[in-house]
Symmetry: C3
Subunit: 352 residues, 3 copies
């Protein structure tokens, strides 16, 4: 954020730090990060996609992270590595180390007797810890967060602000949970009793691994009987619904506005595009990519890319075709009938 | 939740309590609830779907709730009834009665002069009650909740934590409102004034009946002039948008990520699948089921099941067909032309 | 809201105030606003859509805002103007001026040393201001809101309740931000490092113009390097996801449950229907309307209305056609083959 202090690092040191080879002025001090088009003489920029290469000629950036191939087209100071985006991510951590708010408990926080707070943790203003909450070393519980009874927040995890983690959940190490996220709300489980619904008590937990990030206003429901499980390294964007007893495999990434229905099992290293919907009680294999807005209504057993998304068209064109879609089964039957007629007329010919 | 005390009940007593017939060891004490595959000798399990029947042979559960038909395949202690899921829901209530936090006002809560709190209600830490808020008997206003001016929360309702109910709303009895839910935010109403929008004051209320559950991070807007109405027994999952002046009939259930646009009227006992979208100013009859991700763009007058959802396919297959979709109207016209030609060639034949 | 005081204004004064021509009893005092069907003799109603005209005969409303054309069909007291909805919006402001909560800082608010609060601002109960937060004249920071370090909230803006604005953001004048909204959460940006993801620091800001409204539980991410920008007069409904570095042009309106992926650029005066999805790194021209639930997967360069929405159909009909859709490419190929055969049979004929 804009008021964080910026360290100053030489290009040579930065290269060693991010795993790149420096070319040019290794003594130049880098103080900031910026896009190519606004970077100044002490800023670091990077190019990860070919379309930005044409900006290289005009950039005033002090140094640019480039692949070996792209570096040939640039005469300025360069940090060369295979994955410039990764280099930039690492450089950002080096140049802007996360500011921890210190440790201790803000006087306005409400820490129940029986909550256990590590001495290196920080409990922010108006945070609430229920009895039996366990807050690990170097954890940040930001302003207005609520941690329920018997919940564990493990070392170095950061609840940014106004995060809710209800009772009996476990959050791993080095996680980041953004404002408005709700972890451990009741799953949507009812039994019918005539016209009415009888609530089925939701008595499982949410178990979140290490290095997980949960976006703002995302909801993760507790399990009905067993647990909802988010494995290590999973990244969840904003406004995602994770139903009860869902299991998300390690290093999967889920974009905003996705809904994952109860008991769905998503494999490792999957990527789910924004606005997609994953049905309940189905399984998605490892290494599956789901395009944005796609509906997954059955299990997917093979890695690959899957879609059910139509793209926007001018509405008059769209409607003409959408109306025909309603006749599609009949259209195919008419086509089959025509094929028969033609076979009658051309009896010797191979058809289809 | 995991630290709740568990009562211990005999199988015979449990059978009477949930309306089942006991078979086997009626004196066995049940202490917990578990899925078939992890249940132990003092746990109760149930089978509601045929696919779990094969687990019956291996289960270590002390007792299992089964239908009469399924019970024949199981030699262990059994509670027999037509709707095992309902039995399990009831058993959970018997075995794990809801822990009420007692009554009183936490010293950190901010209760405005003129707010009215029943003596049996509990106002949690850092909850806020504005002047004129009325909190009924045995209500729980959990940590960090906000109840606006003139709003009534009726008996036995539970605002779990960090719930916002804005001014002038009415919540019925025995409701459960989950964290992050916002009830009574302004509807999305503007009048055009040239290029700009002029806000139309939203002066209606939200009226919620009895036994309603509202999921985490769900938003229910107040009416523009009249009220937004959620009838008795409605169950709303997480991250649902309910626009101004929407009316949802009794015992309807709406899954996560659904958007319901302003002034839509949804009947009684409807079920709306996750991620569906309901257009504004339309009516859906009683007993309608909408499949997940479906778009409802016109009124539905007959009970039944409705869908507009395409299922995910491998992306190369999907794209080939999606491109053809853009030609669909033209394709049908070509088909019609072919039919004409064939009629010319086969003048005597009947051709659809 | 229901307990606001209502002023009393004569029809004549009201006409001048909203820019209408009065017809009938100009001395009648209007005290309330109501829909046609429930309005009483001192209420003002309006008709903006033809379908409500038939209610005119039965209405007990004291006065009705109508267009010149519709006014001919009504014998009661009338306020005549081209845009009755705009007139009603203005009348609501006149009859129910916004109640400001006064000024000052509630004793339970936590205002950090170094936060700067204008003397006419109001900081509500349990609100939190971090060091360097700047709160302008006549700003309302409602109950439970959090304003991060270095963030500016400009004059007359109202954070309703439980709003989160993280560090380093700028909110313009006269904005309304509803409960649960999160402004300035980290964007969803990672670099791959083998199977794992490395977070890319999100160091841009969110810049919001004047007269912007942000709905409840909406999330607006900060820019990765540059800023996320919401121009003047934009209206965002509830539960919207705005990704990092998105740019939304002036006076665009976005309905509920829309997801806008990172770096999308939306023009001025656009209207995005509920549940639509806008892909990342694309541009939408000015004056574009996107129908509800539509997926925009490429840039749109021309004004107009766009859709990719299918409407709900009875599920058996729907499935028949959806199965055929999977054969669509093959169907068109069969059609082409038939056309060839017919050309062989009718060699002289012109065939498309």
């Amino acid at each position: 954020m804009s008021d964080q202090p910026i360290l100053s690092v030489t290009v040579g040191d930065l290269a060693r730090c991010i795993g790149a080879v420096a070319r040019g002025d290794e003594a130049l001090r880098i103080k900031g990060l910026a896009p190519l088009d606004t970077a100044g003489p002490n800023d670091l920029a990077y190019v990860a996609e070919p379309k930005y290469l044409r900006q290289l000629g005009q950039t005033r950036a002090g140094a640019v992270i480039l692949t070996q191939k792209d570096a040939d087209a640039f005469s300025g100071t360069t940090l060369i590595m295979d994955n410039p985006r990764l280099g930039f991510a690492r450089a950002a951590h080096a140049l802007r180390p996360e500011q921890l708010p210190g440790c201790g408990v803000h006087p306005s926080a409400v820490v129940a007797p029986g909550a256990c707070v590590a001495p290196t943790a920080w409990i922010g203003p108006l945070a609430i810890l229920d009895p039996g909450a366990v807050i690990g070393e170097h954890v940040t519980v930001g302003p207005g967060c609520y941690v329920g009874s018997g919940t564990t927040i493990s070392a170095h995890t950061r609840l940014v602000a106004r995060v809710t983690v209800l009772a009996g959940c476990v959050i791993g190490e080095r996680c980041i949970i953004h404002p408005g996220a709700v972890i451990g709300s009741d799953g949507f489980g009812y039994a019918r009793d005539g016209a009415a619904w009888v609530k089925i008590a939701q008595i499982g937990r949410v178990i979140i691994g290490n290095d997980v990030e949960v976006g703002s206003n995302t909801s993760i429901d507790r399990g009905a009987l067993g647990d909802t499980v988010i494995e290590d390294g999973v990244k969840l964007d904003n406004l995602i619904q994770v139903g009860h007893n869902v299991h998300i495999g390690a290093h999967s990434a889920v974009a905003g506005c996705v809904g994952i229905a109860g008991s769905a099992h998503i494999g490792k290293r999957c990527m789910i595009g924004g606005g997609a919907g994953i049905g309940g009680h189905l399984a998605i294999a490892d290494d599956v990519t789901i395009m944005g807005k796609t509906s997954v209504t059955g299990s997917i057993t093979e890695p690959g890319i899957y879609s059910s998304t139509m793209s926007a068209r001018p509405v008059t064109e769209w409607r003409k075709n959408a109306v025909r879609f309603r006749q599609l089964d009949q259209v195919v039957r008419r086509l089959m009938k025509i094929e028969e007629k033609i076979k009658q007329m051309l009896p010797g010919e191979h058809f289809e």
